[in-house]
């Protein structure tokens, strides 16, 4: 965890919206001036509400969308202008897991061809037999059987299809995998299996992961670092444990306070956010969060804050003018680990924990 594998500097993406022969199009600032560093071997989570630009950011990192401005490097080589061979190489080293396991697999191709195609492109020297063997190996790695290679995507369940998507992503032998909400389209019971599979593969193959998510439980479970996005910008980043224990940005505090507590007779103090997220077509002046921030002051309306280091842990940075004062005045909500449960409830939760632990060690194919 020392070398940055992926580095993005001042990345922006604007979309033109509307406009006609006589009217100037409006500019939608989906991602605005985002800088990120992903270290070799770590798992970075990018979190935020719907529409905050996290998927756009992920696709930009993957060069599926061209950035409007900014630079990116992958293992030191510049990739924001990569074309042709360089881009193909990038697609070998960096893979993407899509959100929707149903629409992201071509319905006309067998699983064997879907998974085998990247091998064909990136390792053309392999014979058809070697390729089949590699596909079988990949399918086994994600908990599917080799004979599944001859079936079509529609013959599988959502969880299985996402496993196919993961096998496909692994096929080119990537070093970094970006997951765009890899489990949000799945049933909760299947989510845990897929998350554990990803974590398992990461450890086994030494992958670096970037996971986009809006589910804080998923993030806490699998990531080392978190970047919180709001309206196209990163407002806070730092180690997962540190952010969950000591959030500094008011938006992060509000997000974390929204996690429900599954304990009888125990509620957490929630920080309600007023109103809707402003339109990225017309973002607020100054701090973009000031329209909804319960702690907003006059200065927030005019001056845009930049990310600055906090006192809690190295690498933890927040973009708020007043986070020191806010933190001092409002201690973070107490940790949820506690004893609000009755004995019966505790026994039950222990059972759940056991059951989950069982799936963790050997992910099964659900048929």
């Amino acid at each position: 965890m020392s070398e940055p594998i992926l580095k993005a500097t001042n990345l922006s993406r604007h979309f033109k919206v509307g406009g006609s022969l006589f009217r100037k199009p409006k500019i939608l600032r989906a991602v605005e001036d985002v800088s990120l560093t992903v270290q070799q071997g770590e798992t970075l989570a990018i979190v935020g509400e719907s529409g905050c630009g996290k998927s756009t950011l992920a696709r930009m990192l993957m060069r599926l969308i061209e950035p409007t401005s900014g630079q990116m490097t992958f293992e030191g080589r510049q990739i924001d202008l990569a074309q042709g061979r360089a881009l193909t190489e990038l697609r070998r080293d960096m893979q993407f897991i899509f959100q929707d396991p149903f629409s992201s697999l071509n319905p006309r191709m067998t699983v064997g061809r879907l998974v085998g195609e990247p091998i064909e492109t990136h390792a053309p020297q392999l014979s058809a037999r070697e390729r089949r063997a590699k596909v079988a190996e990949l399918l086994a790695q994600v908990g599917l059987r080799p004979e599944h290679a001859d079936r079509y995507p529609h013959e599988f369940s959502g969880g299985q299809r996402q496993r196919i998507g993961i096998a496909r992503a692994l096929a080119s032998g990537p070093k970094l995998i970006i997951g765009d909400e890899p489990v949000s389209a799945l049933d909760v019971s299947v989510q845990a299996q897929v998350i554990n599979l990803l974590a398992d593969l990461r450890d086994r193959l030494g992958l670096t992961l970037v996971v986009i998510a809006h589910d804080l439980a998923v993030i806490r479970h699998m990531s080392d670092r978190v970047a919180v996005m709001y309206l196209g910008s990163v407002v806070e980043e730092g180690g997962t444990d540190d952010i969950f224990a000591r959030p500094r940005h008011p938006y992060t505090r509000a997000l974390l306070s929204a996690i429900p507590v599954a304990e009888y007779g125990r509620t957490r103090q929630q920080i309600p956010l007023e109103g809707e997220m402003p339109s990225p077509l017309d973002p607020p002046s100054g701090c973009r969060f000031h329209t909804r921030c319960p702690f907003a002051r006059d200065a927030c309306k005019t001056e845009a804050p930049v990310l600055r280091a906090t006192d809690t842990a190295p690498g933890h940075r927040a973009a708020c003018h007043f986070f020191e004062e806010i933190a001092a005045e409002n201690p973070p909500p107490p940790a949820t680990e506690g004893s609000g449960r009755t004995d019966a409830a505790r026994a039950r939760f222990a059972l759940y924990a056991d059951a989950i632990a069982g799936t963790e060690t050997r992910p099964r194919a659900e048929t």
Partner: protein, 314 residues
């Protein structure tokens, strides 16, 4: 797969029966009496009675219908009232001409329409897209007969590059046969090419924005492979449907085109038969056309299943 084809064939049977009833009924409902046309100027009652008896036009309608169907099933479509030739023979003589014309028109339409549609979808919003659309729209709006006459005037009369009319059987002189047929096929295929181009374009546009095309790009495949293997294969379904449906249009268009270029085909046979109230010939032609249309759609259904694995099991 075999059971699917068999089932599909069984479904076609009631359709064909229904069509035969319609064809038969329509004939009887048409104004004009063929016997009067045959009997000539004098309209001698004895002649008329003899003719009615000869063609069994005095039988009750259901009997006439079943007699006709029974004969049709044994390959006897009756005898032309006009030329006294068996209808089947007439059709067998003219059909290859029209099949050649229709095939050439379809090949032309597919060869122009599909690549143009793909290209304009990929280059959406560019000059190439606009040009393709303008050409397609012109192809759709220019009437067949006008285009045909213009081509004859320019290509045949002024530049003297191709013959203005006529027909050479394919098995006699293939090269010459194709040469003679080029202009009619072009005229007949223009509107089809335009329709195909528009539909290919919209099918491709839908498919190109789909998630699995993005997946294919993320895999690092070449753009050519993404377009042809991932996008086009999925866009093919509506194109196959359309091609089968266009077959009907093709036959209708052939009638007009054959008139303009005086091609001695099916279309000319229809027009002559209708004008002469030649019942048996019209019935035979409509029946053959309808069965051909059903067969084309059956082929399209089979093609779907081959193209789309999701349909294979049900």
């Amino acid at each position: 797969m075999l059971s699917f084809i068999v089932r599909r064939l069984l479904i076609a049977i009631p359709t064909i029966i229904l069509i035969s009833v319609f064809v038969f009924a329509l004939q009887k409902l048409l104004p004009g009496d063929p016997v009067l046309a045959m009997a000539g100027e004098e309209r001698d009652p004895a002649t008329i009675a003899f003719l009615r008896e000869k063609y069994r036009l005095n039988d009750p309608l259901p009997i006439q219908y079943f007699t006709w169907v029974g004969n049709a099933l044994t390959g006897d479509l009756g005898i032309s009232l006009r030329t006294n030739q068996p209808v089947l023979e007439l059709i067998a003589e003219k059909l290859p001409v029209t099949i050649q014309l229709a095939t050439m028109a379809m090949v032309f339409a597919l060869a122009i329409g599909i690549p143009a549609g793909i290209l304009s979808a990929i280059k959406k919003g560019t000059v190439a897209d606009y040009v393709a659309n303008v050409v397609a729209l012109s192809g759709l709006s220019i009437p067949n007969f006008w285009l045909g006459i213009m081509l004859i005037l320019l290509v045949s009369v002024k530049w003297q590059l191709l013959p203005a009319s006529g027909y050479v059987p394919f098995d006699e002189d293939p090269l010459r046969s194709i040469q003679v047929m080029i202009m009619p096929a072009f005229v007949l295929g223009t509107a089809l090419a335009a329709t195909l181009m528009r539909h290919t374009r919209s099918a491709m546009l839908t498919v190109l924005t789909s998630d699995y095309v993005r997946t294919a790009r993320a895999k690092g495949l070449s753009e050519r492979r993404v377009i042809l293997k991932h996008a086009f294969r999925n866009a093919l379904t509506p194109i196959v449907t359309l091609s089968a449906l266009l077959f009907g249009e093709l036959i209708a268009g052939a009638v007009l085109t054959e008139q303009i270029f005086t091609v001695p085909g099916f279309g000319k046979l229809v027009v002559d038969a209708v004008f002469n109230r030649d019942y048996a010939v019209v019935q035979g032609i409509v029946l053959v056309t309808a069965v051909g249309f059903i067969a084309m759609n059956l082929l399209a259904d089979v093609a779907y299943v081959l193209l789309n694995p999701r349909l294979r099991k049900s």
